[in-house]
């Protein structure tokens, strides 16, 4: 496993997403209210680009006719067939134990610490006083 700096945090404000390439893989990083999540940009169903999907919340039910809606913005629907994925865990809603989108650990590191390594840097300069998004693959 290695850590990769993928973007300045300023490029990924809350409510946004960014498609990056890490170790040759397309990865989509989401910022949900300040928390970061990273999924491989490939739906496990038929390969749709998850980055193009809409975020929604969790629709659940205790019985027919009952609907509850929670966790707005934390469920991603694949832009193709609409499968729902929990962006925190990558698990699908339809069969969470069997089907998931691959997820990666992602965090924020300060520029000053990054210079001390061991990080693989992408091709942009790192400023000591800024924060950066780091994905672990």
């Amino acid at each position: 496993m290695s850590k990769h700096v993928v973007a300045p945090l300023a490029d990924l404000p809350p409510g946004s997403r960014k498609l990056v390439t890490v170790k040759g893989r397309p990865v989509v990083v989401f910022n949900v209210d300040g928390e970061l999540f990273a999924l491989v940009d490939r739906c496990p169903h038929k390969g749709g680009s998850l980055c193009e999907g809409k975020l929604t919340g969790l629709v659940q039910s205790t019985e027919p006719g009952h609907y509850s809606y929670s966790r707005p913005g934390e469920i991603l629907r694949c832009p193709w067939h609409g499968w729902e994925f929990d962006i925190r865990t990558g698990k699908s809603q339809c069969e969470p134990e069997r089907i998931k989108a691959k997820s990666y650990a992602v965090g924020v590191e300060h520029g000053g610490e990054l210079n001390e390594g061991p990080y693989t840097l992408e091709t942009f300069p790192v400023m000591v006083e800024q924060d950066y998004v780091v994905v672990t693959i």
Partner: protein, 356 residues
Amino acid sequence: MKPPRIGAIDCDIHPALPGLSSLIPYLSEHWREMVQQSGLHELESMNYPPGAPLSARADWRPVQGKAGASLEQIRSQALDPFGTSLAICNCLYGVQLLFSEDMAAGLSRAVNSWMAREWLDREERLRASIVVPMQSPELAVKEIEHWAHDKRFVQVLMLVSGDMPLGRRHFWPIYAAAARHGLPVGIHAGSSFRYPTTAVGWTSYYAEDYVNQSQAFQTTLTSLICEGVFSKYPELKVVLIESGFTWLPSHLWHLGKFWRGLRMEVPWVDRPPFEIVRDQVRLTLQPADAPPDANKFERLIEHMQSDKLLLFSTDYPHWQFDGDEALPDGLPETMIRKILVDNPRETYPRLMELVP
């Protein structure tokens, strides 16, 4: 192929009501009089034109009267040849065709009474489904409550095509009552003709209507699953009777595919359609609709991915097979006993209980 004589349980036979006159003794005085006053016609259904080749196998037709109308016929033609230990009677007299809920309820009571007195009382191998007036779920529940104590009634009988798709909440009181009493709901081929037998209008031929029954079962199964009947009533079993089953695997592949992307619309469907069916849906064997190539049929059985789904039936006296060849060729050896005995016992817990 002939079924081995191991005490098979036949989950679909049709004793025939000789005619309305046979129901007269079982009608209330009021309905007896109404039947006379209106000159009510026989409720033979277009689902089985009496003379059509499929409605009764030629060698089962008596010289006079209907096939399956006497105990002697049922014993010698439906039960004895197969070594059948128990058979479930599904009376198809067309009470569901009427629009008057009350008349349908009155006639249903009479049909069930006739079944109890003239069949169940006289032949210990027989069991029956409770015919209910589908026109009114409330009255249907009353009919279920009336017979539920009699353990020889082992199922609630509905037709596949009625006033609305069977998964709709309108029908739920029936499912609740059935579940309460440990009775499976048996959904039998046939329409009450509220709508054409297809989504695209009225057919020209009876053969089309009959073949289209399998489409009606497909949309009905979709409805039951998507409306959440199986999650609302986790103990309920539904049996599709005379439905065919070779359509089942591809239908579930199709429905499952859509469900995964459209789950939000029906969030109470909490597991894949195939799992729901494996747990709570069963299908009777005839018509098997098998291809002539037994290898293909065996492969199709593998597609079904469960040996619990099929329940033996002859569908007597409907013409679904010749001679005693009640089992289609290509059934895996290991499944035969399950189909003939184990699956029916598991589906109908009442079958093993003694008559009170």
